[in-house]
Amino acid sequence: MFKSEFYRFSWKDLGDIEAGRPNLGNLMNVAVYRLMQYTLRDVLNRHLSVEKATELLREAGKLAGTEFCANVLDRSLPFNGFVADLQEKLLSLKIGVMRVEKSDLGKMEFILTVDEDLDCSGLPLADETVCEYDEGFIAGVLEAYTGREFDAREVDCWASGERTCRFRVTARE
């Protein structure tokens, strides 16, 4: 199934974690998550290209965001309630502390920050942004909620020395 070229991700593929890990449970160390993400990036960079690797990570993030919205968030809420729900879920799942700095519902433009980000907070400073997976994730969540396509771009990142990750999110024309 997973190794078929026809495989497409489905939320149920995450499995029954309680049944599968009765002793170790549902939690693990953040470093292990990063170990997977950055070793994957290493291999993708080497075998493809930095640009392609970045694109793939963003696309995977978008798929994750879409599925997360469909399976975890309450899409029936009005926008403000939806944002509060997203913020609360990201917090309770310890993904990060999301805050809204600006929102223009007319133009569908937002500026969001994520503190204590799962992907990057505490990384060595590298003078570059690294949260492409998050970019895709945010765009995916909003697309699944609104039905419109979004672009999310990280303009500040912990890794570039900004301490907080800031994303500029815009709906496509």
Partner: protein
């Protein structure tokens, strides 16, 4: 023995550090000394510090004046905590606007005592709004009887807007949320009982007549 240029460059660099310590803008100093590469290196480091400090200073001064939209200096580690502060202030500004627009679903997290105070305020405002809505709904349900009501001084019927005379109970039931439960007061009870006794006596007297 250091040459004059060497001494001058060190003095200039020292002056820039003194400016920074006084909270003033510094100036970059050109240090090109063929004889002392270490001085050149020190000069470059001081210049980087001066540039980063100047950018940070402009940024924090704007922020202190309430200009939250000021673009943060990029890749400036000296300014990092201020950038985090700016992000928090922008978020709080957004939160406040949301509350002003009637959105009480947002909460502030991880800003110490401020989070507790702010969230308590939002919850109190939300509770107040809920109470106001309930009150408004209750008021909408209650019908008021106001003004002068024309009533018959003998039979106590009331004249309605359609010039028709209605029983008191019917009128009040139709114009308010009140309902009637019929009983009898002691005075009327005595009167009715007495009337009934009289009627009974009359009937018996009629029966006794041949």
């Amino acid at each position: 023995m250091p040459d004059k240029n060497h001494q001058l460059e060190i003095r200039l660099l020292n002056e820039q550090l003194a400016h920074i310590l006084h909270g003033e803008r510094g100036e970059t100093v050109e240090t090109v000394n063929d004889l002392d590469p270490e001085l050149n290196e020190l000069g470059e480091t001081v210049n980087r510090l001066v540039s980063a400090y100047n950018d940070m200073r402009e940024f924090i001064l704007s922020l202190a004046q309430g200009n939250l939209e000021v673009p943060p200096p990029l890749h400036n580690l000296l300014a990092s905590p201020f950038k985090q502060l700016q992000a928090s202030l922008l978020h709080l500004t957004w939160q406040t606007r949301q509350i002003a627009a009637g959105d009480y679903s947002q909460r502030v997290y991880f800003m110490g005592d401020f989070s507790t105070a702010f969230n308590s305020m939002v919850e109190a405002l939300e509770e107040k709004r809920r109470t106001e809505i309930l009150l408004r709904e209750a008021q909408a349900k209650v019908k008021h009887l106001e003004g002068i009501i024309p009533i018959c001084m003998y039979c106590k019927k009331i004249r309605d807007d359609m010039e028709s005379w209605q029983q008191l109970e019917q009128y009040i039931t139709e114009h308010s949320e009140a309902l009637f439960s019929h009983g009898i007061c002691p005075e009327c009870y005595g009167k009715v009982r007495s009337d009934m006794g009289n009627k009974k006596a009359k009937v018996e007297a009629t029966k006794k007549k041949p």
